[in-house]
């Protein structure tokens, strides 16, 4: 933070202000997001603003933001869009010059994976004028009339598709209501992305915590380093007296810890417990075994106290999140706690419970996204989302089937798709649809024998089914 700035004079939202109070020169974006319960994506946006306003300066936060924004979604021009396609496609013989061919392919293959703002190369808050300008610049060169009655080969339908999509983007963003609806959708996506990032971070943190503990054991004369730059726990919900809430959390944590928890001072955070420095004294009149035992005891003590403190930290954070109904954050914190205390069954149960709740929320969120994407024929996105739903709800045959189907449509990994379809078939062997999806995938994978087997199974369920028969007929013996 830059000293001497009068924060009250700045155009900050309450969230911005609140986040600002969390900046301590150490906390990362992830830390702040976790402890404040604000989505990482939003934290990033907020800090971008703060940096611009010159309130916070280059430091860990900025680096963290930069790190999070690796694929630089700064105003993109069409040429920067990431689009993967076979470069040989550019060699198709037609009347377009190479540059134009490249432009068409770049845009065409970027249509599915990019939002309207990115496709048009404009900022999220672009106004009418900016949208129109960008549309004219990007879309007009894609209009087939620019190449009237020229030989365009497969580029013509591609240009038409690009033009149609850009026009849809233009029309959507210029219509107030439609833009709001679309922005909500994008927010939903960002929201789930935020959750994703959090999950990833939790894994990392768990690993870091483990490593740190391992270090404690191996280097007895050195203090265990703080696991992560820690900051005070999340501010409690405003309606509850912080002291009361803290007491509740500590009590629960204590219960979960089997009463072994050391008192933690709530507002100064979870600083590592003071552990007496160990010095070996060579001239003691003890037997060497005794000495060894005592040493080991001390190690163990230190280890378990450090570990207890860590576990307590995460349990408290998790329960705090639960109090705010943030199950995803809770599940993450518990996951770390569980890794640290693999034998604590109570922590395990609670962790599993939090995870189940979080999964429900996640699955619902992904499913919403998946359905929207499917409706808008964004197959790659739809497939990604359905796969996540299927992973979160492995018992849901529909999710598995949709994952398989959309993966197929998106030209995704056929093996993976087939695995989902197989799961759907296993869950509901009587439903033809699952089998047909699976058979189609086998066909696409060049495995007619497997497809045949699946269809024969289907034919047994519904002997007269015309489609199954038709498909069977099409399979080469």
């Amino acid at each position: 933070m830059i000293p001497g700035v009068d924060v009250r004079k700045l155009p900050l939202t309450p969230t911005d202000g609140y986040l600002l109070t969390r900046v301590n020169g150490q906390a990362t974006v992830g830390d702040i997001a976790r402890e404040t319960g604000v989505w990482e994506q939003e934290v990033v946006e907020s800090f971008e603003k703060l940096v611009q306003l010159n309130v916070v300066t280059f430091g860990s936060v900025e680096e963290a933001i930069a790190a999070m924004k690796k694929p630089a979604p700064a105003p993109l021009k069409a040429a920067v869009l990431s689009a993967a396609y076979d470069p040989a496609m550019i060699n198709e013989v037609c009347d377009l010059d190479t540059e134009q061919r490249k432009r068409v392919l770049d845009l065409f293959f970027a249509l599915e994976d990019n939002d309207y703002y990115t496709l048009l190369g404009i900022a999220k808050d672009a106004d009418k004028k900016g949208i129109k300008k960008a549309y004219y610049e990007v879309a007009l060169p894609m209009h087939p009339d620019k190449f009237f009655r020229k030989a365009l080969g497969t580029f013509k339908p591609k240009m038409e598709a690009v033009f149609a999509k850009l026009t849809l983007a233009h029309d959507t963003l210029l219509d107030k209501e439609k833009r709001v609806e679309y922005d909500i959708y994008l927010k939903d996506v960002a929201h789930t992305k935020g959750m994703e990032a959090m999950l990833a971070r939790a894994m990392e943190e768990a690993r870091a915590a483990q490593d740190a503990l391992a270090a404690t054991v191996n280097t007895p004369s050195v203090m265990p380093p703080p696991v992560a730059p820690s900051a005070p726990p999340a501010a409690p919900a405003p309606t509850v007296d912080p002291a009361v809430l803290q007491a509740r959390k500590s009590a629960l944590a204590a219960r979960l810890m089997g009463g072994r928890q050391r008192p933690t001072t709530a507002n100064t955070g979870f600083a590592p417990q003071p552990v007496p420095e160990v010095k070996l004294q060579p001239k003691v009149q003890q037997s060497s075994t005794e000495a060894m035992d005592s040493l080991r005891r001390r190690y163990d003590d230190r280890l378990s106290s450090a570990k207890d403190a860590q576990v307590a930290k995460y349990v408290t954070a998790a329960e705090g999140s639960i109090a705010k109904n943030d199950w995803v954050a809770a599940a993450n914190a518990y996951r770390v706690a569980m890794d640290l205390a693999p034998d604590n069954t109570e922590v395990h149960d609670r962790a599993r419970y939090a995870q189940t709740e979080a999964n429900k929320i996640l699955a619902e969120s992904y499913q919403k996204q998946a359905i929207y994407d499917e409706k808008n024929e964004r197959w790659t996105e739809a497939a990604k989302a359905w796969v996540r739903v299927a992973k979160l709800k492995p018992e849901d045959p529909n999710a598995n089937e949709r994952a398989a189907f959309t993966l197929g449509k998106a030209d995704g990994d056929i093996r993976e798709a087939a695995a989902y379809a197989q799961a759907a078939v296993n869950l509901q062997p009587q439903i033809l649809k699952h089998r047909i999806t699976l058979a189609n995938l086998y066909m696409a994978a060049g495995k007619p024998a497997l497809a045949r087997r699946e269809l024969e199974g289907a034919a047994q369920i519904a002997p007269g089914d015309a489609v199954v028969q038709a498909m069977l007929k099409r399979i080469p013996k």
Binding site: K132, K133, Y136, P144, D145, F148, A164, L432, N440, A470
Partner: protein, 607 residues
Amino acid sequence: MEKVIGIDLGTTNSCVAIVENGSPVVIPNRGGYKTTPSMVAVTEAGKRLVGHIAKRQAITNAENTVYAAKRLIGRKWNSPQVKNAVATSSYRIVEGPHADVRIVLRDKEFSVPEISAMVLQEMKVIAEDYLGEPVSKAVVTVPAYFNDNQRQATKDAGEIAGLDVIRIINEPTAAALSYGFGRNVEKTVAVYDFGGGTFDISILEIGAHGVFKVVATAGDTFLGGEDVDARIIDWLVSGFKDEHTIDLRQDRMALQRLKDAAEKAKCELSGVKETEINLPFIISSGRNEALHLQRQLTRQTLEELSVDLIERTIDICKQTLDDAKLDKDEIEEVILVGGMTRMPKIQEAVQGFFEREPCKGVHPDEVVALGAGIQGAALIDDKQEMILLDVTPHALGIMTFGNVFEELIPANTTVPTHRQKIFTTSRDNQTAVKIIVMQGDSQKADENELLGEFILSGIRRAAKGQVEIEVTFEINADGIVSVRAKDLETGLEQSIQVTATSGLTRDEIKAMVDNAKDDLLDRRSSDEIEAAKQEAQKLIADIEKLFPQVQQIVASSDFGREAIDKAKAVVEKAKQAIDRKDLAAIKEQIEGLSRTQRMFKGVVAKT
């Protein structure tokens, strides 16, 4: 580079233009006129006449002189517009073999595109005379509100005339092109085009990079100067009838003279306040004495006769602004096109509505052809910066179960475009679906125009709603519509390109709808619709169970009977909403249903 001419094929007048050395010019005909009457005649000797010479002999050869053929192009014999034309035209219109329209000239039947082709050919010859070289390519304009069948028929006419119609564009759009060409303006403009046969309004954005983007368009393809003329004719005919008890409409030649005089009077009244209509020897009475028609017509009477027609155009303007989501004050220029906009009352109405003085300096009879010429040059010439982004004037979609028109491409969508929707089967064990492609703006499918149909078969036998069919509509840059249906399970696929006119009548469409009922698709229902539907159905069942009882109890009172009628109406509405799968409507009806159910329960409980 090959030359492309632009032709404004008007209801009353046609005009041809070309871009020469970078600037668009209108090509005058041999008589030196810049417009040519869209009239065709066949003489007693069997000679074909087009343009001014056809017009000059119209009165003496009324039965064999065709005018306003554009009002018939691409229409079905049974349409109200054709019926109207049959009743009011001095030439003979008969039914063709495909329920289409034929015109009889000297005992020979001509299709409407053939008649229009004669006019187009005349325009082609005018251009060739002027250029001294053959011309084969043209951009032809049509009213913006023409549907695909009318556009296709116009294209056919071009082909018959030996022209490669490289593009059909909309008349108001062409006018805007001509207005904006070389002016380097960035403006939102409204084009109000009131011609001889049609009315169109288009709103366009003229932007940087030579872009002309149509934002919204609407109109009426049967509202023009002809209708104003008809009002004057009616006025004259009924006045004459009151005086002499003779119906002038019985005599084709008298009718043609009336038409001629009415139009003349109308045009004169744009300059003067009063004019005399004088038609001596208009008809002979039964007693072999000649009768004359002589009347004074004032501008005010003319305005009274046509006030509702003018109001209609303003209503359409209002609607179009709404569709464009624009306020009046966002329109930066109003362009008047078409001969009718010379009428002072019309200028006044337009100025009053847009609260802005219309633009001077475009020629209402020539802008459309000039714009067509400009578009032709822009398409052929790579160096031209200009690009035109037009829209579909009508929604496109398919007929679904319950005679519901399910829109895939909404009106005013920029082309090229493509849209998809997923549907499901509408009954159990359905193995084929019929895709009926339609165009129009009514929610009821059979009120829209049929464009084509095809069948997708080999669908898995399953309970209704289980199989998913994906329907894709595509309009390419040339305006060609193609439709594809795909069984998402098997990947089986069928498609058509909409090209020919269907030639089916309304009744035939209705009959076809009935026959096809079993093969139609259904909208995919969402969980929410399903829940609302079940709730409504439960209420309906409750109400219907109580019906006989309640009826017995309350039938004696007027009030009771009224309540019963209301209840019936509510149930009926709810059922319709369920059929349409219209979530909002179902929800709305649920309220009425629960009220009715409570009332019924109350009545039964009290007794």
